[in-house]
Every structure is written in C-alpha cells, then in structure tokens.
C-alpha cells in the first residue's frame, strides 16, 4: 500500500523549503490556500476478498463520485464530471462477477440502485458500459473504508477517513497492468494547514506544489514546481520542477444551469455562461485545431433528450446549440419511468457561442459577457404520488471547450501524475483534444447552493384517485348502455318495418 498526499496551490503561491519541517514520520507546514489530493494505491492482494474477485473479474473498472457542492478546482486537477456516482466498466469473461457488481457497489457506497449491468447499464463502445446515478454523500463509503482499512488500535485512521466526507470528488480505478487499485480523493480549494503523518507498512509521499510558468514552458504545457518528501525516509523536502502537456485546462469562465419556467412536461435546461475570456485559442502555432464549447449531461431516466428533435439545424440554432454529438443508444422515447431499468442517458451537445466580437473592440472583450444555451428535454411519466407532484433532480452538466485536432492520428497525451482515467466524454473526441473546463456555479439565489437543477413533475394525485376506477367504469357503462339502447330501438323498429314489408310482399 502506498500513499500520496499532494497540496496544489495556484500560480504565484509557493512555499519555501524552510517553511516545512520534517520530523521523523510527520510533516508540518504553514497554512496554505490549496487543494489537497490524497491517493491510496492498494495492491491486489491487500484488497478485501469481495473486491479482489470483482476487480480481477473485470477488464476495466473506473468509479468517479463527484459531490454536488460547488467547489473551485485548481490546475492541473481540473477535470469535471456532473455531480453524482459514475461508473465505467468493461466486463470480463465471467458473467457471475458482472452480475455481482451492483450488489458489491451497494455494499461499498450504500444506495446504489442498479440491478445487473445487462439491465441497468448503457453501452459506450462495443463492450464498455456506463452507469450513473445521483449519490448525495460518501458516508456509506467512509464507514466501509473504516471497517476495511483501520486497525482497532489506530485512532487516527477513522478520523482521517472522516475527512473524506468533505471531499469534492472521489476516484477509484483499477489498473489491470500493474494490478493495483488507486483511490484518489480530491478536496476543494481552501485554506488549510499542511500536515501529514506516516503509518507503518505505508509509504507516504507528500508533495507541496504550485503551478509555475518557467521561461522554457511551451504554450501547450503546464509547469509545476514545489517540494517533495517521502515520510520516514527524507529528512527535508527536496525541491522539484517539471512540466507536462495537460489535456485539462482552465478557461477561466463559469456557468450555471436552471430550468426555464414554466417547466411542464418538456422542460428546457438553460445554461448561462459568463465569461470574460470566452474564446480559448488553440495552444501554440497549431492552426489545425478548432475550439468549440460542449455540454456533457448525464440524465437520470426520469428525463431525456430526443435525438430526433435535436437533429434540425434551425431548431438547434434557435436554442444556441450546434449539434447533438453523442447520445446513449437506445433511449426509449415513450416508456414511463417506472417500467425502465436502464439508469438513464448520457448526452454530448455542441453549444453555439455568440460570434466573436470584431477585433477592434478588444477592450470590450475583456468585459463580463453572458450568453445562454437552451437544452430541450422531456420528462417521462412518473409513478403517482400523494399530492400530485414529484421532483426530479438533474445534475449540472460538465461544460467545457474542446480544442480538437482536425487531423486524424494526433498524438495522445502522455500519462501524467494528475490524470485519473477517462471521464465518459473524453473518448468521444479525437486523441489529443484539450478540454478547457468551465466552472459550474450554483444559481444565484438558489435554495441550497448545489450543482443540481430541480424540476417539479406533475403526476397523478393518489389522494384523488379513489373514484377513478368506479367513475370510469360508470361512464363506460352509461355510454355503452345508451348506444345499445339505440341499437335495440333500431332492431325493434326494423322488426316492425320488416314485418310490414313481408306482409306487403304476400299481398
């Protein structure tokens, strides 16, 4: 088992080596404004038995949980996904392992409502599957981790794991090549004291880093400098400096999402993008790259986008959209929510920003600008409730500008220490695409400040449903009886007429 603790500060914030004291197994430093990332690397044989069978039975497993509370991210830890529980999964040969996946996840995370991959998951590529659901907190996971990781004698272990409940995101992925499970928790950007202690049987590496911009840095690269310490091994932090090409960048703009009123059964999710630097330019002199904004939505099965509606260019343009780039297939356009087992659908929409202002108004461009894009969605019928309404929560989409190389066969980004595997949408772009992330912000004056849009759905009111069966039956009986009565009248009159006719014939 190995542990890596990384504090990442913004550009310009850096710590002198003298500010940090390394004393035996502990590292102490001043209070800094940073994000803290904790990564635990667990070897296969150190895993609990249930997890061992699971990860060895899959060809690829990647879980990412994102909290619904807004948080500020820091370069290069910028990758974003809609808040909730994401799973990307390639099954192995053994179906039994796949079929136990959901119950194992339930043991670990608590309220996971999938049944089996075949029923609940959607397919991304031919054998790769995706699952998403809303998951408000990690409390069940924290309890599970305490039970599995902490020794009864170690009091600091539960306390340390409790800090996970404040994490902004959690990433768990199994590396089949190295046979290790990586668990990475990322905290929000906040003031905190630099502090780490070592544990027996655990190699702990601590990095106190910040973004740097040395003169040698190329435009597509991100520079990092700071201090690295291996607890119990180093007596003082050693300075480090490195740079790498990062595919996740900060576009320094923000967006919020909310449903336009009245929502009805076809609500429109409006994305409101504010931006003082709206047009990321392709890095360097690479002219074969174009940058366009996208929204990646993970929609629970209560709500969906109609790909046929999103095929008409005029309609799309009226909503400030360009194209539907991807949607989960298939999406049932008719079924009510209560008969569906598939988790929902993932949608990638290309947005259509306002045209760039003329170049002479460079000054104006610096000003805060705002533009919107509307995403038309459709609600399914939900199960009846008492009161006649239900609430559907839709996580904020991930919004980013993608700078995609136009030529095929561009080079993929080499792995870097801050990458956590795929995000669901990155695979929908060409290799070498750079993602410039737009920061999600809660709606101003919103109730809870969460990155979730809520919509009230009218459903059948159970409190008033008492008369439905009897009333319908009564109306049908009355209508039917009236029609039959008229038919009987026709037959009786016809009978008399018929008789008269026959009499006439005989005469």
């Amino acid at each position: 088992m190995r542990e890596r603790i990384t504090y990442v500060q913004k550009l310009g914030d850096s710590l002198e080596p003298s500010a940090v004291t390394v004393d035996g197994g502990a590292l102490r430093g001043p209070e800094v404004h940073a994000v803290r990332e904790d990564r635990l690397t667990i070897a296969l044989d150190e895993l609990p038995l249930g997890l061992q069978t699971l990860v060895t039975g899959t060809r690829d497993l990647h879980i990412r949980w994102v909290g619904a509370a807004a948080y500020e991210a820091v370069s290069p830890l910028l990758a974003r996904l809609p808040p909730g529980f994401h799973l990307f999964f390639t099954p192995g040969k053994d179906d039994a392992v796949s079929n136990k996946l959901c119950s194992t996840l339930g043991d670990i995370f608590g309220d996971i409502s999938c049944s089996t991959p075949a029923e609940s998951f959607t397919s991304i590529h031919k054998d790769r599957f995706q699952y998403f659901q809303e998951l408000g907190n990690l409390s069940h996971f924290v309890q599970y981790a305490k039970d599995q990781l902490c020794r009864p004698t170690d009091a600091s272990c539960p306390a340390r794991l409790d800090t996970l409940s404040k994490a902004a995101s959690l990433d768990i992925s199994y590396d089949t090549a190295q046979k290790v499970l990586r668990v990475t928790a990322l905290g929000p950007y906040q003031r905190q004291r630099v502090h780490a202690t070592s544990h027996p049987n655990l190699r702990t590496e601590v990095g106190i880093l910040s973004t740097d911009r040395p003169k040698t840095l190329e435009a597509h690269e991100i520079g990092i400098s700071g201090l690295l310490t291996v607890l119990g091994q180093d007596s003082k932090p050693s300075p480090t400096m490195f740079s790498f090409a990062s595919r996740h960048r900060d576009v320094k703009s923000a967006f919020s999402a909310q449903f336009l009123a009245p929502t009805g059964l076809h609500p429109t999710l409006q994305l409101r993008l504010t931006s003082n630097n709206p047009f990321p330019s392709p890095s360097g002199d690479d002219d074969d790259t174009t940058c366009t904004p996208y929204a990646y939505l993970t929609l629970p099965r209560t709500i969906f986008a109609d790909k046929y509606q999103l095929a008409d260019p005029l309609f799309l343009a009226s909503k400030n959209l360009t194209a539907l780039r991807h949607t989960t297939q298939p999406v049932d356009l008719e079924a009510p929510e209560y008969v569906m087992s598939q988790w929902g659908s993932a949608v990638l929409l290309q947005l259509s920003p306002p045209p760039p202002p003329p170049s002479q108004s460079q000054e104006k461009r610096r000003e805060e600008e705002e533009w919107t894009a509307e995403i038309p969605l459709h609600l399914r019928y939900l199960a009846p409730t008492r009161g006649g309404y239900s609430t559907v929560s839709v996580p904020y989409p991930a919004v980013f500008w993608a700078c995609e190389p136009q030529q095929q066969g561009a080079v993929a980004f080499p792995p870097n220490p801050f990458e956590n595997g795929d995000l669901g949408y990155d695979g929908l772009f060409e290799e070498g695409t750079v993602f410039w992330h737009v920061e999600p912000r809660p709606v101003e004056g919103g109730r809870d400040g969460l990155l979730v849009s809520r919509v009230r759905v009218p459903v059948l009111d159970l409190e008033r449903a008492g008369w439905v069966n009897a009333g319908t039956a009564a109306a049908v009986v009355v209508g039917f009886a009236w029609v039959v009565w008229k038919l009987v009248g026709v037959c009786l009159r016809g009978g008399v007429e018929g008789e008269r006719e026959r009499v006439k014939k005989r005469q």
Partner: protein, 448 residues
C-alpha cells in the same frame, strides 16, 4: 368538422331562386371541386416547406420524419425497424422510398422529400372521388360532390395529409373497400380488406359488417323458387348464411392478410411482428389522450404489484364494450340497413371506446361522414346539428385546456380535470353515436 352551408340539392331560402347559386354551379362539374381540393393541398404543402425552412417550429409531422427515416434505412438495404418508433408495415417505407433519394440539388431534394406528402394528398383526392362515386348511387352528381367536398375541401384533412400523416392512405383504402363491396366485386373487396388490416389493423371491424350485408338476396344468388313455408331450422339458417360470396370474401381477405404478413416476416423477421402488431398488445398507453380509460390505465400501469389482478382486469375488459359494439352489435343492427352508415358508426364506436384516442383517429371516421350526412338528423334538424358540433368541439376544448395546463404549465391536471374532461368527451361521443344509430333505424332503407 366542416359542414355544408346548405342542405343538399336545396337552395337556401334566402337566395333568390331565379339565379342558380354560385355554390351549386361550382359543384355542377367535377373539375372546379377537384382542382380546388388539389390547390388547397398544394398551398398547404408549399406553406409547410416555407415554415420548415424558416422556423424552428416545424409544419411537418414528427411521424413523417419517422416514415422518411425508415425509408432511408430501407434505401440502404436495412430494415425500416432500425428507426425507433417505426410501428408500421414496411410497405409504407417502400412507398416513401423516393423521399430517401438525394441529388445534391436542393430544390429537387426538397421535392423528393415531399413526395410522400404528395402521395398522401393524392390519396385524399382519390378517397374523395370514391366518396363521390358511392354517394352518386343515391343522389345526383352535384349533390354527391357537395357532400364529398366535406372531405375534399376540409382544411383539417388537407392539413393532416400535407403535414405527412399517413391516415389519408387509410381513407382511400376504406373508401375503395366500400365501393368494391357496393359494386359486388367480392375478390377486390377481399384483397382491399386484407391489405387494409395489414396496413393498420383497425379496418378488421368492417369485416363482420360487410359479411352480414352480403346476404344471398343482396348478392342476387338466392334461389328464386325458395319460399318460407315453414320456419327454417337453425341448421338450414346457418347453411343459408354460408354463401359463396361470403366464403370468397373470407378466403381472399385472409389469404391477402396472411400472405402480406408472411412476406414481411420473411423479410424483416421478428422486429416486423413486434413493432407492427405485438407492440399494440404490450404498450401501456399511459400518456394522456382523449380515451376515457387513460387515467385508469396510468394508475394501473404504475402500480403493478399493488393491483396486478385489477389492472389485468381493466386491460382485458376495456376492449369488450369496444369490440361488442364495433364488431357485433352495430354490424348486426345496421349493416343490412345502411352499410356506409354502419361503417361510420363502427369506426366511431371503435375510436370512442378505444384505450388510446388521439385526434388523428378522428380522420378514420371523418372519411365516412359524408356518406351518412345526407340522411342524418343533424342536417334535417339544424339545431341538433349545431348542438352536436358545438358539444364535440367544446368537450375537446375542455380536454385540450386541461392538457395544456399539464403539458406546458406543469400543473398536476390528471385529476380531476383531464379525467373528467375525457369522460365528458366520451359521453358526448356516445350521444352522437346514438343519434347516428337512431337515424339509420328511423330512416328508410338505404337504396343500395
């Protein structure tokens, strides 16, 4: 529903009798009527093209996009059922194959894409012409054209076909079936019946009416010397019922239906069966529509564990009144008196008592309406006619208002608003159906 401004063949009392009314001279010859009907559709078609090209709100019906997408799949050698929600016979996709062609010239492509609408509009005109022919059996040509104009010059009908709904094809099939029957062309009638049922299922309701109508007397095959001396035994009555014409109709229609289905099944396999037929059995019909059963079905479908026995009852009982009326009682009581009116009443009952009811189903009976109106008390008694029309429109309006509150404003209008509105519309329809039935019994036997 449009109604003629004046009763057939009678000039309105206010107009001077010396000059023939403009209206009558318009209907004297077929050319002006059919030309205006075609022109009406052309104008709607062109307007639709303009709206589609310039507005995010489309004139073209979503169904037309489904058909044309399916045609595109077929053009690529794939199954039309690759298109989600394509729930029709492959023949429809084949008919629309020209819409899948592309030349690169935008004008030609737009024309090709609209060719399906042109087909549906042409089907409208053909249905109108068949209507006129059937009407002309019992009235002069001018009056027949006046009544046929209720269909031909009806803006609602023209809108539906130029928006790309295939219901107009059903209209022409049903009218062709009726005129074949009236002309005693049994094989043709069987072919048309089998084809119509393959196309849209519901025309199967016409089979019992046509069979009942086709007795030996009517077909001129009754032995002339036979005299009812004694009361015939049930067995001989049954034997008398089985006539060559009836057997011929049953054989040709069944053979057509089965042959078409076998052919389609061999081409497209299970998806054909699932989407064209089985879908109608498994669908749960929970989305709000005019049907009186709608609220109940939504309630039942959402709580299968709670009331599995009762939900099973609703779904399996709901078709009983519908089929009893449209397939047994109305044919028995009405078919021999007035076959076209019986078919109207059957269709009306089928749509009114159906588990799903949307406004495009109204077209199913609208094509038969001009055949009934000449003898209807709605035209004889203006006040009754206006009341019926007003009630029909008002009940629909109430429902639509509740539907708007639900669908666009998000108000939970299912109960009691939508439910009561659908029951109200249902009862209005039942009342109208009762009047239609009463008219057939009250009037003289149709001279057909």
């Amino acid at each position: 529903m449009a109604r003629p401004s004046a009763p057939a063949g009678r000039p309105s009392p206010s107009s001077p009798t010396t000059t023939p009314s403009l209206l009558t001279s318009f209907f004297r010859r077929p050319t002006p009527v059919y030309l205006s009907a075609a022109l009406l559709r052309l104008v709607f078609l062109l307007y639709g093209l303009w709206q589609d090209a310039n507005s995010p709100v489309k004139y073209t019906d979503i169904d037309y996009l489904v058909f044309t997408d399916a045609a595109r799949f077929v053009a690529r050698g794939q199954s039309p059922y690759e298109r989600e929600t394509y729930r029709y016979t492959p023949i429809l996709a084949w008919l629309l194959l020209p819409t899948a062609q592309a030349t690169g010239n935008p004008l030609v492509d737009a024309a090709l894409f609209s060719s399906g609408k042109v087909l549906f509009a042409a089907a409208d005109l053909l249905a109108g012409w068949l209507l006129e022919r059937v009407l002309a059996r019992s009235m002069d040509g001018t009056s027949a054209r006046k009544f046929a104009a209720i269909w031909l010059l009806n803006p609602m009908v023209a809108t539906i076909s130029t928006r790309g709904s295939s219901e107009g094809l059903l209209g022409v099939l049903v009218m062709a079936l009726l005129s074949a029957v009236m002309a005693r062309r049994v094989t043709l009638a069987g072919l048309l019946l089998g084809f119509s049922v393959h196309f849209k299922i519901y025309p199967f309701i016409y089979a019992p009416a046509i069979v009942w109508w086709m007795d030996a007397d009517r077909m001129g095959t009754a032995p002339p010397d036979k005299k009812p001396l004694t009361k015939p035994s049930p067995l001989s009555q049954l034997l008398a019922f089985i006539t060559p014409a009836r057997l011929q109709l049953a054989a040709t229609s069944l053979a057509t239906f089965l042959a078409l289905n076998l052919a389609m099944y061999s081409l497209y396999g299970l998806p054909f069966l699932n989407h064209t037929y089985l879908h109608h059995i498994t669908r749960i019909d929970h989305r709000h529509n005019f049907s009186p059963y709608n609220t109940q079905l939504y309630l039942a479908s959402s709580s299968p564990s709670l009331s599995s026995s009762s939900s099973l009852r609703i779904e399996s009982i709901a078709f009983l009144p519908q089929l009893a009326l449209s397939c047994v009682l109305i044919p028995l009581a009405m078919a021999k008196r007035d076959l076209p009116s019986a078919m109207l009443a059957q269709t009306f009952a089928f749509v009114t008592f159906n588990k799903v009811c949307t406004s495009q189903y109204f077209l199913w009976y609208m094509v038969l309406l001009p055949l009934y109106l000449p003898r209807s008390s709605f035209l004889r008694n203006k006040r009754l006619g206006v009341a019926a029309l007003a009630l029909w429109v008002l009940a629909q309006g109430l429902w639509l208002q509740q539907g708007y509150e639900l669908e666009f404003l998000g108000r939970s209008a299912f109960l009691p608003g939508l439910w009561l509105a659908s029951l109200g519309f249902f009862l209005v329809n039942c009342w109208i159906l009762g009047v239609v039935i009463g008219d057939v019994g009250g009037g003289s036997k149709a001279g057909v």
